[in-house]
Amino acid sequence: MTTSAAAGIVPPGLLAPAGGWSRRHPLLRQAVLLGGVLLLIAFAWEAAKWLAGDPWRIAIGGFTYTHTPPLAWRIASDISLPHLWTIVATLFDPVPGGPPLWLFLTGAAFYTLRTAFVGFAAGALLGLGLGIVFVHSRFLERALVPWVVGSQTVPIIAIAPIVVVALGASWISVAVVATYLTFFPVAIAAIRGLRAYDRRAGELMRSYAASTPQVLWKLRLPASVPYLFSALRVAAAASVVGTIVGELPSGIPEGLGRAVLNFTQYYVTAPERLWATVASCAMTGLVFVGLVRFAEAFLTRGRYRPAAV
């Protein structure tokens, strides 16, 4: 049930991407696709500015170009949507008393990523543990799953200050906030995945009079791996968000949280700095999810084909 390859003969193009160079170089393909999408976004972005942004003027050497857009949309103004070149240029502007913005953001991203990773690992273990408990006890599942679901309806931004005050303003409480966002998708996927083993294999294990831990270890856990990994990808992105949100009340200055805070407060004077920070949050999430994807490909070599989506 996990293998799409064994599922049968598939008309080409319906399920799998077409062959050729892109199939032989999946990494290159990803890069090209990402580049394409970014180009498309950039094009749409500047097209909106050209059509309905604020007037602009470029002067390169003796050549000046002035453009007055025919329309004026609020969402395309310089405050709403700064020019891409302004955003790129601001990356090379130094942060007051510090390195250029790009270097500062990279450092902040790494700091955040490290905390996120702790929260992610803790959340993954917690989620998996809960999943294991729940598939073995219908009673506990019935009793506690509503609380697990309910926990996710509490706005994290309301929880984060409590965690930070209770545990002290340190990276540990930030990681706890990240854990809070991470464990949920993993727990849900674990419940599903740990039940997704082949019924016949289950009967086989019964015929061996296998113990519950043996069934768990040899059957349930392996069956849950694809489910877990797709949840871990979701969790990776969530842990980045959780970390940034946790950094706000913790007052930690090194991470992306502080950058977000600073640049949101001064958005009106330098919108491009917040946009650059938003982009680096997005990149951080992408990198983390990419790492999980790599780990998945590495650990499950040949076992199953990871889902494209």
Partner: protein, 368 residues
């Protein structure tokens, strides 16, 4: 089979490694110094320059203290942090500290650093809002959450009902104001007001100027609803423990020295704050330093001392407009520590700044 074991193992291992990496940064502290944690009410900026200067100039160390300054932010309740023991001392506005007492804390204000309110209502000239009564029927921005009493008091004084007026929660940025979504917006003279002046007017392509704006000052006698702002507070239980009261006095003395240093060296102090991790632009930082100095100096009774009239006005407004349910109980503030700190500074130091003169600061685009 073993793949799942490997995955689980990897996760555990990774957690341990990451934990080990993240924790090794505690600096070795000198054993002789008394550790003190100060919780700010916002991120590092010149608003707190005195503390950073005391840190930078070694005033705290000289007083035998090892001070850690904890940053605040929009999602940090600094009062909550101190009340639950996450820090020893904090900086907050007086009415907020009083409110927290009604919420069950034992926080005591021990020094009143700012002598004036820094809050303003700004509006563009064409809206013709020059007095509180002009805000009738307008879109009025406020940060709410304890930042509204001065505004509400001014509205009520002008015969308006703040609960019926169109008060909109504004974010901690000035986007809504500049975009024209708000007719009048709250702004701190040392920060948001400057932000507007650092922003290009999309119509002209040049920066906004003070001439574009009407500014209402709550300190103005014609409005007269200013309330006490940045003050230093601590837990009563903490103050009564061991020699903590003495520690607090030492902290106040060194902090006052820091503020005096900043009064005399505004540019250096702005740089110190920037070095401490504030990411504000150079001109913005200096502007803030300058305006903060103007909120402190002159201090007619000496820095950090209470002005009973101002205190009473704050309490009156707060109780009148339901910010406080009742007048604060005794012990909401104590004057002895600040007085002792002032005495410890000695008479050779100018603690009043009677001759203080503001600088003229030019703001650049984006505060650079």
């Amino acid at each position: 089979m073993n793949k799942s074991a490997r995955i689980a193992g990897m996760l555990v291992g990774a957690a341990i490694v990451a934990a080990a990496c993240s924790s090794g940064s505690a600096s070795p502290s000198a054993a002789a110094l008394i550790p003190v944690k100060l919780q700010l009410q916002w991120v590092p900026q010149a608003q707190f320059a005195g503390y950073y200067a005391a840190l930078d100039q070694g005033y705290y160390t000289a007083a035998g203290l090892n001070v850690t300054v904890l940053s605040g932010g929009p999602d940090v309740n600094n009062l909550q942090v101190v009340a639950s023991g996450g820090a020893d001392l904090g900086v907050s506005w007086v009415p907020k500290t009083l409110q927290s007492r009604e919420g069950g804390t034992d926080l005591v204000t021990v020094a009143q650093v700012f002598q004036r309110s820094g809050t303003r209502m700004v509006s563009f000239k064409d809206k013709s809002i020059v007095a509180p009564k002009d805000m009738a029927g307008k879109k009025i921005g406020s940060w709410l959450g304890g930042n509204e009493p001065e505004l509400f008091a001014a509205l009520t004084k002008a015969g308006l009902d703040p609960t019926k007026e169109n008060v909109i929660k504004q974010n901690f940025d000035m986007v809504a104001f500049v975009q024209g979504d708000l007719d009048a917006a709250q702004a701190m003279i040392y920060n948001e007001y400057a932000q507007v002046l650092e922003t290009k007017n999309p119509k002209t392509g040049a920066l906004f100027t003070p001439a574009d704006l009407n500014v209402m000052d709550f300190n103005d006698p014609s409005i007269g609803t200013a309330m006490l702002q940045d003050a230093i507070f601590a837990r009563d239980t903490w103050l009564k423990q061991g020699s903590n009261a003495d520690t607090a006095t030492k902290f106040l003395t060194a902090s006052f020295k820091g503020w005096i240093y900043c009064r005399d060296n505004p540019q250096k102090c702005a740089d110190i704050v920037t070095k401490a991790g504030s990411q504000l632009g150079t001109s913005h930082q200096l502007w803030m330093m300058n305006e903060i100095n103007a909120l402190i100096w002159p201090s007619p009774n000496g820095i950090g001392q209470f002005d009973t009239t101002a205190w009473n006005q704050t309490v009156d407004i707060a109780t009148k407009y339901g910010i406080l349910k009742a007048a604060p109980s005794d012990g909401a503030y104590r004057t002895d520590l600040a007085q002792a700190a002032l005495a410890a500074l000695g008479s050779s130091v100018d603690t009043k700044g009677a001759s203080f003169q503001k600088l003229t600061v030019t703001l650049n685009e984006g505060g650079k």
